[in-house]
């Protein structure tokens, strides 16, 4: 796509979903937004529509019907409306996915980086609980973590809501995604937040200074640049998880990707209704994979001696 002629520097064309996770498969759709971080311009709509048409012409499967993607997103809402009445489901989704599952599709990522940093800065600057006065201990940024947890629960609730609204259409595929790729981004978000935690004995614990907050923003920004699977793999290494659990987890995810990349199986899941799921081989295979994935995740988050205390302290209550 000819970015230079379309998108000025206050805007960014951003993709979400499987392409951002580095998991694009044959049947994947393309969730995208035109992120605007600057003055309001009536012409933004035309740019957004031009992108929409170009993607359609190029045979990309468009975003779902919720309207969350496939149009414009304004940075002010993303940055300023965290929580409260104005933080709609759509706004939360766009914001949290910006951090966990997004990628700028263009050479110039300036607007994308600026908004990402703005969001991270808000979560940390307004968090009252994660820095000790002596700077020797840093806790987990709860404001950010709570939003990620909230988003995960929202996805789970919306899954049930979509089942009702869409008369079970696409139910099985959504179910499998919830068990796998949605759960993956939740886990990567938790690991991103846990990375801020430092014990007093850690050599890397730095004394409290005025720049510690932006140091942490920079650290979290480095996580945003990673794909969810990379964050998970990094977590497995950083927390010294055993080879068997790591292998089980990543193999399960690999099998999931292979399954949804199979056009026949994907189509089966897309059409399958919940009432028929129990007797369907493809769904059974997918469920087996998700159980293996969940088993390895449970072992990692609840039995790993370094991670389990963080999971219990911050991830549950």
């Amino acid at each position: 796509m000819e970015r230079r002629t379309w998108i000025p520097r206050i805007e960014a064309f951003i993709a979400f979903g499987s392409i951002a996770r580095g998991e694009w498969t044959s049947g994947s759709d393309l969730d995208w937004t035109l992120l605007i971080d600057g003055y309001a311009d009536p012409g933004h709509l035309a740019i957004s529509q031009a992108i929409q048409n170009a993607l359609k012409t190029a045979n990309f499967e468009g975003p779902g019907p919720t309207g969350t993607f496939g149009s414009m997103t304004f940075s002010h809402e993303i940055i300023h409306n965290i929580g409260g009445e104005n933080d709609s489901n759509r706004n939360t989704t766009r914001r949290v996915l910006l951090l966990l599952e997004s990628i700028p599709i263009a050479a110039d990522r300036l607007a994308y980086d600026r908004v990402t940093l703005g969001v991270l800065n808000r979560y940390l600057e307004e968090d009252t609980s994660f820095l000790t006065p002596d700077g020797q201990q840093r806790c987990v940024p709860r404001f950010l973590l709570n939003d990620i947890v909230r988003f995960w629960r929202t996805m789970a609730v919306d899954y049930a809501s979509k089942q009702r609204e869409r008369a079970h259409e696409g139910w099985a595929l959504r179910n499998v995604k919830l068990r796998m790729s949605r759960k993956l981004i939740f886990c990567s978000g938790m690991l991103m937040c846990f990375s801020c935690h430092k014990e007093p004995t850690d050599e890397s614990a730095v004394p409290l200074s005025s720049d510690i907050l932006i140091s942490l923003v920079a650290q979290l920004r480095d996580y945003v640049k990673l794909k969810p699977l990379e964050i998970l793999a990094k977590g497995l290494l950083d927390y010294g998880e055993d080879d068997e659990t790591s292998r089980n987890m990543l193999n399960a995810y690999d099998r999931f990707l292979a399954l949804i990349d199979d056009p026949d199986k994907r189509q089966t899941l897309k059409k399958l209704k919940s009432v028929d799921a129990q007797s369907n081989d493809v769904f059974d295979e997918a469920r087996g994979i998700s159980h293996a994935f969940q088993g390895a995740l449970s072992k990692f988050f609840f039995q790993n001696h370094k991670l389990s205390s963080l999971t219990q302290k911050y991830g549950v209550f």
Binding site: L131, S210, S215
Partner: protein, 239 residues
């Protein structure tokens, strides 16, 4: 105490002699002679011996931000005259076409980070590529540009960390949405204080704010406030 001075361009555009006149009798001890437009470079060179620069413990020169095609060697040679005096030559990276020519200035070639409008040199990653081509070059952090690119100042922090050993000068101003320099605002003061602790006190600070003569001392005081280390994170822990 920080050494804070002005760019002559901010005070009197191309009239550097007038700017020096404004600064006479003030507390300003550091200065940047501006030749931001190429046609300002030759008069500056010609009057070099006549300028009253004794009150200044630090002098730098701002190279033209745009160089006419076919004149790059002539411009770099002229800038070499300033470098021979030990004066850093503050340069916009997008003004450079032939990196070989500019390498001759060594550490006195001082690369400045750019604002939103420019295609290069705006972030640490973009500057990294430029310093790879100019390994000896030093660095002028423009805090106003850095804040325009990223209001959280995280990019500024990354640049300060990555190019710490190259840092020799600071530019300070408010940069508006049209990328024009303005007088410092309270928002800029708060933003700059976030990274103040990472800036050594010995680094000269050049204000690019268009201060009128009667605003010079006040603007210096504001800059001093902006570069005073902010108090540590005010939040207290509640586990």
């Amino acid at each position: 105490m920080r050494k804070i001075g002005f760019s002559t361009g901010a005070l009197a555009k191309g009239d550097f002699a007038l700017a020096l006149k404004f600064l006479r009798g003030t507390s300003v001890g550091v200065i940047e002679l501006s030749a931001l437009r190429q046609n300002e470079l030759w008069p500056l060179l010609d009057s070099l011996e006549l300028l009253e620069l004794a009150p200044f413990s630090y002098v730098s020169v701002h190279a033209p931000s745009r160089i006419e095609e076919g004149t790059e060697k002539k411009v770099v040679d002229a800038l070499g005259t300033f470098a021979k005096r030990g004066w850093p030559v503050i340069t916009h990276p997008d003004a450079i076409r032939d990196f070989d020519l500019w390498r001759s200035l060594g550490r006195l070639l001082c690369i400045e980070n750019m604002d939103n409008r420019k295609p290069i040199g705006r972030t640490a990653i973009e500057l990294r590529g430029i310093f790879e081509k100019l390994p000896e070059a030093s660095f002028c952090l423009d805090l106003g540009h850095a804040r325009q690119v990223d209001p959280t100042m995280t990019e500024a922090l990354v640049m300060l960390r990555e190019f710490k050993s190259r840092l020799i000068q600071l530019h300070v101003s408010e940069v508006n949405t049209a990328s024009r320099h303005e007088l410092l605002t309270l928002a800029a003061v708060y933003a700059f204080r976030k990274v103040a602790s990472l800036i050594p006190e010995s680094i000269p600070i050049i204000l690019e704010t268009p201060a009128a003569r009667n605003q010079i001392e006040r603007e210096i005081a504001t800059a001093a406030r902006a570069l005073k280390e902010a108090p540590a994170h005010p939040m207290t822990v509640m586990h």
